[in-house]
Structures are given as C-alpha cells and as structure tokens.
C-alpha cells in the first residue's frame, strides 16, 4: 500500500501502477553473438534482495510512462523515483530505517513483537 511519486504526474495511489521488476537490466544487443548462458540470464534471472532494490514501475492507469525507483523490499518504502534517462542514485545515499529492515528484532524470527 504505497503512494508512488510518478516523475511525470506526481504522487499517486499504488493501484494506478504496475511493477516491472528489476531495473537497469540491459537487454543484450541482438545483433551480436552471445552465449546461451548470458542470454538465459538476461531472460530468466533477476535479483531479489532484502533491502534496497532498483526497480521499474509503470504508471499504467495514468500517463503510461515507465520509470525507475529505489524500493526497500523489506519495508516496501519507495525512497526515490526517477526517469529512465536519469542516472541511477547511489544506494549509499539511503539509510535503511532499522537494522533488521522487516522490523523484527535482530535475534529471533519475525514473529516476535517483543524487544529481545
């Protein structure tokens, strides 16, 4: 449940957007010979980190523009959105809100609501 700041339209409800997976994955140039492995990795393999993540979104029920963002996958917070032709921000500029980002205590499972 997010408010997403579309770089073209401004902040809008999440229901207007669709997620497009990892950002900055370059499509290999089709005119060059590449191996099965390299191509297979482009088609099938995406990163899935816990924490800060470059991600693509599209304003489907809005301007229909694609854009990139940095999302904290553990809190779902979108820290910055930027246009496709803008430089990707350095992840060191962002601080995760808590040490263990899901909010669970450092020790134990996410089921604890008590400070250990």
């Amino acid at each position: 449940m997010l408010i997403i700041n579309c770089p073209y339209c401004g902040p809008r409800d999440q229901s207007e957007f669709s997620n497009g997976g990892e950002a900055h994955v370059k499509r290999p140039d089709g005119s060059k010979e590449i191996g099965d492995r390299e191509w297979g990795e482009y088609v099938f393999i995406r990163a899935n980190p816990k924490g800060l993540f470059y991600e693509r979104w599209v304003h489907t029920h809005g301007c229909r523009k694609w854009f990139n963002c940095v999302r904290d996958t553990s809190t779902d917070e979108i820290l910055v959105t930027y246009k496709l032709d803008e430089k990707k921000p350095n992840l060191n500029n962002f601080k995760s809100v808590v040490k263990t980002p899901s909010g669970e205590p450092e020790v134990g499972s996410g089921n604890f609501t008590v400070e250990k």
Partner: protein, 992 residues
C-alpha cells in the same frame, strides 16, 4: 441481577422509548442504548451459550472487547456474532441468542459441560482419528460443527460499502482525553489532521468514568463541549466518528471502517458502511487501554462483569447493572467505580482486594470506611456459584478463612493493558513493564507516536509534558491543561493472574478465554504436553483465537505461562497481533467492486442487434461476444454451430470481430520498431499489403498473433487477439520506452474506435459488390492480404482481404458510430446469397479445420513458432527482434519439444475431447508416458467426423503414425496423427 436507571445522563434519551425483540420477546430500551445496555435495563443477563461447553454466558464488558455477548441480528440479514455491547438498538430490531438449542434457558448442548473433563485441549485432535479417514468427513466433523460454534451464516446478505481515500499529515486514532488534547494542539496549524473515534461521542474516559473531577477548573463535560467545538470549527482537523481503525499497514497506511447506521436500521440499497483508506505522515495512537479480567472458579457466570465496564454503563448509559455489586480487584483502576457507585447513592456489597491494606490508596480506604462497605484486603475470590447467574461468591480473607457472600453481580479488575494491537500491527516493539505488569509500546517502527494510556502512561501527572514532548517534531501549540482527579493519581497493581479453586474437582473451571472456552487447566496441559512456546500454545488450546482475539485475557495467559515455565514474561513473548483489530465484513472490503461493478462489461457497437437476433453470448476477457445464434428456442448449440459453419463453407457468414484488439503505430521509425516487435520482416512488404504476424516474449514463446497492415513505412495498424490487446499495447510501449527510446514511434489503441466485420464464404464477393458497389473486388484489383481505404456514404472505411475461416473473406473496419448502419445494410443485401451471422464457436471450428491456431488455446506460453510449424514467419535475416535469440537456445531447439499436430480418430465414428492425453499404448498401465494433449477439438459437418489439434512430443516427425487418446473412463481411442490442416490444404478457396 436487578438494574436501576440513573436518570442523569447526556447520551441516553429517556424520553424516547424503543421496542425490540430478543429471542422473540418484546422489550423496551431507550434511544442511545446498545443491545447490552438495553438487555441489562430489562434485567436480562443470560444472553448466549458458550462455544464448547454450552455454558450460560452474560454480558462481560461494555465495548469492543466483549467475548461473550455475541448475538444474531435477525432484522439485518441475520447478521451473526454481533457484539451486543457496541451495536445500538433501534425500533423493531430483532435479536436472537446464539449457539443454543432448543432455547437459551434450556440448551441441550449444555450436556457437554457434564462431559467437560474429557473435552480438554487437543481433545478433537486426539479423539476423532479412526477407525477410518472417512469418519472425520462424514460423521465427526458434521457433528462437531453442529454442536460447537457461534452464530449461523447470514442470509441473502447484500451490504453496500463505499471506499474513501484520505491523504493527511497526521492521523489521531482515538478521541479520548489524549486524542482531544493532541487534536487541540494541532488546531489551525499547517497540518492536515484526521481524528478518528470509534464511539458516537468524543471524550473517552471523560464519558466513561468519574475519574476526572475538573479540567482547567471546568466541569469535564463543559470542557469537552468547548474543546469539541474548537476542533470542529478548526480548518485543518477533520473528525470521523463511529469509525474503527482495524488495520495499521506499512508506510503509515491505515484502514478504518465507519458504521453509517448507528442506532438505525440500515436502509436497503443505501451505503451502510464506509471503508476509509488513510495514508498519513504520522500516526498518533491514543486508543487507550483495555481492562483485564481474573481467573477463578466459574469466572464466566452471568452477572460477572469488568469493573470499568460497570462504571461505563453508569456514566455513559445511565444504568447501574446492579444496586450492590461486589468488587474484586488487584489494582487501583477500580477505585473510581467505588466512587461512582457512592456518588450515585449506591454502594458495593463488598470490596475484595488482593493487595494489603497498606497498598490500597488512602482515599479509597476513607471512602470505603465512611460508607460502611465490607472490606477484604489481602483476599481473593475462590469461586463464584449459582444457577445460570451468579448467586454467591467464596472469599478467602487474609486469615485464610472462607466467607460466603450472596450477591447478584461481581465486578472484576485484573489490571489494565495499553491497547497495543495497532502499535504491534505497525511492527512496533513492546516491552514488559514489571511494575505495571503489562506490555507497553517501546520502539516504534514507523512514524508512530503513542499518547496517554495507549503508551502505558496510566497516571495523569505528566499529561502536559508527555504530549508536548512527543509532539515537539511538529510546529504546534504547547499544551497547559490542569487536571483534578476524583480518585488516586498513581496506578498501582499487585501480581495476580489466577486463584486456584477451593476444592479440586474435574469439573472446576477457571476460564482464561471466555469465547473459546479455554480454561487455565488447558494451558497447564498444553505445557505438560510440550506446547510451551506461546505461538504453539495458542494454537493447541485455541486461547485468544476467538473473534475478540483475547482482548481481556491474553496477557493473563502470558502471566500464567511465565509462572508455569518460571520465565520472565518478556522471555515468553506475545503472540503476534494481526489485522484486523476487530472483525471486518467482506462487503466492506469489497466496496463497490461487486455484482455488476465487479468487472466492467465491454460490448461491441452491434451488441443490440445480436440481442435481437438470438445471440447467446460468451465472455472473452471483458467482452461479451456472440457465441452462436439460435434461429429458434429449440435449436441446440451443436446444431447452431454446425448450421453456421456449413453456411460459411457453402454460402457466406458474417462475424462481429469488433472486439479484436487494434493498435495504430506511427512515427519516423515505425518500420524498424515493427521489425523489432514482431517475428516477421516488414521491410520488403508493399504499402497497402497485410501480413499475419507473431509476437514472442523474450523467452521465445508465442505471446500473441495478428494481422499487420502496412500503410507506409511510418504507419502501421496491427490487430491483436481479443484478450491480448492490452498486453500487446503494454509490451510495445514498454520496449519503445525502455529498450529502444531512440526510435521515434508512437502507438495507440484504436480497438473501440473501429468496429470490425469479418465476412467470409464462397459468395462473399457477390455480397461485397452489392454492399459496396463503388469498389472493385476482383482478384486482380483486390488480391488476398491487401487492404484499401474507401468512403461509403460519407463514412471512411478500410477493407482488408483476409480470412480466418479458410474461405474467401474480407474484414471491414468502420468507425464505431457508423457501424450499425453498415451492418444492417450488409445483412439486407446478403439475404439473397444466404448470408447469416456466425458466432465465436463456429469461428473456432472453421479456423481449426484450416489449422489456424488460437493463441492461449493451442499455445500455453511454452510453445515457440517452430513448435507450431510456423518457422516461415520468422524473419531470419533480421538482426534482432523480441525473443529471437531464445529460438536458438539449447532448450528451444530440442527435437522432442511438444509440437502442433492434427488428430483424427482412426475409427471416424469415435469421439474426441479437449484435454485428452495422447499416449502410445492402447492399454493404460501406470505409469503412462504422456506425449501431450488435445488443445482444440470439434465435430465437423464438412469432414463428417471429429478432429482435433494437439501438442505432442516430437509431433512433427510423428505425423502419419498412430497413437491413442486416453479417456476419463480409463479406456483409449485409437487416433491418427496428421498434419494440422484438414480443409483446403493448398489455399485455393482463400485466394480465389
């Protein structure tokens, strides 16, 4: 229990009598009463039977925490499990008690209480095991479901709910003293503030108790009135009443439900609840505290009630449920009840406190002494006894002597807990307070602020500094409110979770969860059996798993467990609190996205003609498409489809193809773009010609197909499948923006702007000539796979010569508004040639006879163009296109991939079915190696037998061989594997 009305009350309108029915008997209450307060006014306290043992149960609380008093509202679609303590009565309301048969007084199920020694935790798991698996489904489960449970499911329920979105800077949850103070400091600041209160009136503790005597030297009620007025008049604070926040999600997203018909019968067809979806910068939790109960023998008897609830009935509802209740407490929170009773001219029958005389507050001591209330310090209640109501209690005093006290009401207080439910939903962390014996919010995870008792501040002395300190991040006014209290100022509690029964008996029950009938004995047993982790224990005993989520008892359970395990409560931990805070109806969540608004229906411009001409519709995506046309009511679908298909083969048919996706692509680099998106090459294609094209995913699998019309190198029109239109446009836009932003190209959906008619059949040319006399339809002037723009009666039209049936065919594209006129014209000129409409089923049959695939039916996302035998469509000389590289991956060039073939039964009279597996052996002997399955199957009148398309392993090289199709009755049908084309293989009819 004899109750009395206290006439001095601002919320109950004693002049306005309301009649309602409970279990068929008519009673009277007053405007403002809840079901519970109205029943108590009528001296009714037996309101339901318990979940497992069918024990008589009464009204235990005066709010949302109620575990017992759940009723079925017959007059509102028989809504079950409604809390009697919050639902307000209205004229003509009909209420029924739950889980009893034949009547509440004489419940057959109470026999369970007799057998209760065996119904301990895990009883069902252990007992209903054998002798056969089927016993559970057919015997045990139906029996248990009948005997145990809450209300009955509602009937014909059609609640209507609206959703409202808010986007604010600050949300204050709870309009009690602290919530009002917080709201007050925000008045006329630069923040958008939402103040949410669950009750009908703001004020919280000011309305519910007599704790506070003066605020800023004013009567609390006067101060309240002024403050509310100030808030209401402010520009930036909005108040939502009758609204309960149920959910606190990530990123400060709250969900709250507003009851729109408090105290009225919901009007049918009107919105009866509003779901508020709130996004907020900061959340200020002022949702107060909840009082705990205490466990002792028979602590569930009707007539036992929480002490603050008793006081709430007095202050808010002008009702003392009893004239002389006994009070049993281990803390100072019940002091104000004593004060309220005496103020109302009543007095407690006895005051029992587990604390010693020194610990009891001096002013309470004075009050009790002055009014000659029997006082038992250092004492405990060993048990309560009576038949369906409390009649006497057994008090063990400081000397260990037992005293029997006759009474009709017992008020309990086991201490108070901050209402941490929302705080923990927000992922905030709790910490156990050894002094106050409760979990308190410690570390917030989000921008969450807790104020007042919700933060664990049970005293009022730091009120101003606490609010000022916690709100200092905001630019708001500083508070300076002076409070004077009627009772003590310091919260004081002594540890007491449970009093053991006087006599050990298998039938002695001290409840820890009233709603789910969990006793302290069950907790002990669970620990003995090894379920000593709190999450396991909860599920094994079902403790705190009722609709009340153990609001008054879950901390007591932790206390008991920590003592049993000899661990600190913090080490035991709590079970996780999950949303919603209180039950939320599905109709509220669904909002308006239900019934006719669940999914939009899309209709072609010719829809009304179809309706008039016997069309039976099928859903294709959101579209309504004619499936087949009935010429009379008796015509079966099979007959209609065969008639329509033969007519196309012999005369001519017309199909409404308006639902096909249409995308216009324009721009300097449109040609290059199209070459990259589709497998085909469009470079050498002539202007004014068309081409069947395939679109792949990057994985090389077929995603969509369609016909591409090339108007020029800078202008194309593509058609897509009906269901794939949005995806194809989305995919084009994605690649245009993300991968090839250097290409100057634009695309737009024109699906709804143009209607499409597909006319095909040997007599089509004659019909077209007559319908459009100004156009030359000869084979030379208008060859196959070309298109022309024309004007007809001033209407711009585009005609494409293409066919999906294998017959001579044309597709006419017409602006939607003019379409019905041209459709009617074609119908009338076509009559003499036998033109008839056909539906999607006949279209499927006709195209399958030609071996044309349908993406999504004959393909499933794992089929490449090569698998379909469509290698000729791949522009091999092109450097790149979507999915090109994947077509040469080791996996896609495997020879034993599933490939498209045709199937006909070896014995022409045999039937085939979609989904049948193709196998090699006649006999089915497991394991059966499966080659693949039938994807499309029809009976063809043209061929005179069944035929099918199938995808089978290594299919292309199996053409000409025999195999078998398995049936659901474990037999097989012999089939011939053939080329996937059954009709006019050399396309003579197509190009004639």
């Amino acid at each position: 229990m004899k109750s009395i009305n206290l006439k001095e009350n601002q919320f109950i309108q004693f002049h306005q009598k309301i009649s309602f029915k409970f279990d068929g008997v008519k009673y009277f209450g007053y405007k403002g009463d809840t079901i519970a307060s109205a029943l108590l006014r009528n001296n009714i306290n037996l309101v339901g039977r318990s979940f497992k043992y069918h024990r008589p149960r009464g009204i235990y609380t005066c709010g949302i925490e109620e575990p017992n008093a759940l009723v079925q509202i017959i007059s509102e679609y028989s809504e079950p499990n409604t809390r009697a303590t919050i639902k307000k009565i209205y004229e003509g309301m009909e209420i029924e008690s739950q889980n009893r048969w034949p009547s509440l007084e004489n419940d057959f199920g109470s026999i369970n209480n007799l057998f209760s020694p065996i119904f301990t935790a895990g009883f069902y798991y252990k007992t209903f095991m054998g002798p056969h698996k089927k016993f559970w489904k057919n015997l045990y489960e139906p029996l248990i479901r009948r005997a145990a449970g809450l209300g009955k499911p509602p009937k014909d329920f059609k609640g209507i709910s609206n959703h409202i979105h808010h986007n604010v800077d600050v949300t204050i949850i709870g309009g009690g003293l602290n919530g009002l103070l917080a709201a007050k400091s925000f008045i006329n600041s630069n923040y958008d503030v939402l103040l949410i209160e669950f009750e009908e009136q703001l004020g919280g503790i000011i309305n519910n108790s007599n704790k506070i005597s003066l605020i800023d030297n004013k009567e609390p009620k006067d101060w309240l009135k002024e403050t509310i007025q100030e808030i209401e008049e402010s520009k930036n604070v909005k108040i939502l009443k009758n609204t309960l926040v149920t959910t606190y999600n990530y990123i400060n997203h709250l969900i709250a439900i507003e009851d729109r018909f408090v105290g009225y019968k919901p009007i049918e067809g009107k919105v009866n609840s509003t779901l508020h979806k709130i996004r907020t910068g900061h959340t200020i939790l002022c949702n107060g505290h909840i009082e705990r109960f205490l466990s002792f023998q028979n602590n569930d008897l009707p007539g036992i009630m929480l002490s603050s609830s008793f006081e709430k009935y007095m202050c808010r509802y002008g009702l003392a449920p009893s004239k002389e209740p006994v009070i049993f407490s281990n803390n100072s929170n019940s002091n104000s009840l004593v004060y309220s009773l005496i103020k109302a001219g009543l007095k407690p029958k006895a005051y029992v406190d587990s604390r010693s005389g020194e610990e009891i507050e001096p002013n309470l001591f004075d009050l009790i002494r002055k009014n000659d209330v029997p006082l038992y310090t250092n004492s405990q209640i060993k048990g309560a006894f009576g038949n369906k109501k409390i009649e006497k209690i057994l008090v063990e005093d400081s000397s260990g002597a037992l005293n029997e006290i006759k009474c009709d009401c017992l008020c309990l207080s086991g201490g108070i807990n901050p209402d941490v439910h929302l705080f923990t939903q927000s992922k905030g962390l709790l910490d156990w307070d050894e002094k106050d014996l409760t979990y308190k919010p410690s570390k917030p995870f989000q921008p969450t602020i807790t104020l007042g008792s919700a933060s664990g501040q049970f005293n009022f002395d730091n009120l101003n500094s606490d609010v000022n300190e916690k709100l200092k991040t905001f630019k708001v006014k500083k508070l300076d409110v002076k409070l004077e209290l009627n009772t003590n100022t310091k919260y004081n509690i002594e540890k007491l979770w449970e009093v053991s029964p006087q006599k050990k008996s298998l039938w002695a029950k001290s409840f820890i969860d009233l709603q789910n009938d969990v006793t302290t004995k069950d907790i002990r047993q669970a620990i003995t059996e090894g379920f000593d982790r709190i999450e396991h224990l909860k599920r094994y005993t079902t403790n705190s798993m009722g609709t009340d989520q153990g609001k008054i008892s879950s901390i007591n359970a932790l206390g008991i467990v920590s003592d049993l395990l000899d661990k600190k409560v913090n080490e035991v931990g709590t079970t996780i609190y999950r949303p919603p805070y209180a039950p939320l109806s599905f109709s509220a969540i669904a909002g308006r996205n239900c019934y006719e608004f669940y999914d939009p229906e899309r209709k072609s411009p010719i829809h009304s003609w179809h309706l008039k001409n016997g069309a039976i519709f099928e859903d294709v995506g959101q579209w309504k498409r004619p499936w087949y046309f009935q010429i009379n009511k008796d015509e079966s679908m099979h007959d209609a489809v065969q008639r329509e298909s033969i007519n196309v083969r012999e005369n001519a048919g017309i199909l409404d193809g308006s639902t096909l996706g249409k995308i216009e692509i324009k721009g300097e680099d449109a040609l290059e773009f199209m070459n990259l998106i589709y497998t085909n090459s469009f470079t050498k294609m002539k202007q004014g010609s068309a081409r069947y094209a395939l679109m792949l995913g990057e994985d090389g699998m077929v995603k969509d197909d369609g016909i591409i019309c090339k108007i020029s190198d800078q202008h194309f029109i593509a058609t897509t499948t009906t269901g794939g239109a949005a995806t194809v446009l989305g995919c084009m836009e994605e690649y245009a923006q993300t991968e090839w932003p250097n290409l100057k190209v634009f695309m737009n959906s024109i699906t709804e702007q143009y209607a499409t008619f597909n006319i095909s059949g040997p007599k089509t040319r004659e019909i077209m000539k007559k319908a459009f006399p100004n156009i030359n339809f000869s084979n030379e002037e208008f060859p196959f796979m070309t298109f022309q723009f024309h004007e007809f009666n001033g209407i711009p039209i585009r005609i494409l010569r293409a066919s999906f049936t294998g017959e001579l065919g044309y597709e006419i594209y017409i602006p939607s508004n003019s379409a019905p006129k041209i459709w009617d014209n074609i119908q009338s000129v076509g009559k003499e040639f036998g033109l008839a409409p056909y539906g999607t089923e006949a279209m499927h049959l006709l195209r399958a006879e030609k071996g044309y695939i349908i993406v999504g039916q004959d393909t499933d996302g794992s089929i490449t163009p090569i698998d379909l035998g469509l290698s000729w469509m791949i522009g091999k000389s092109k450097k790149d296109f979507l999915g090109k590289r994947s077509l040469t991956r080791s996996d896609t060039i495997r020879e034993d991939r599933k490939q498209l073939v045709g199937i006909i039964p070896s014995n022409k009279a045999d039937k085939l079915e979609e989904g049948q597996h193709i196998i090699l052996d006649k006999e089915i002997k497991s394991p059966v190696p499966m080659l693949g399955h039938i994807t499309s199957c029809y009976y063809s009148s043209t061929l005179g037998h069944d035929f099918a398309l199938a995808v089978i392993k290594n299919g292309h090289s199996m053409i000409g061989t025999k195999a078998y199709a398995s049936t659901s009755s474990m037999s097989t049908t012999g089939v011939d594997i053939v080329k996937p084309v059954f009709y006019d293989e050399d396309n003579k009819r197509l190009v004639s």
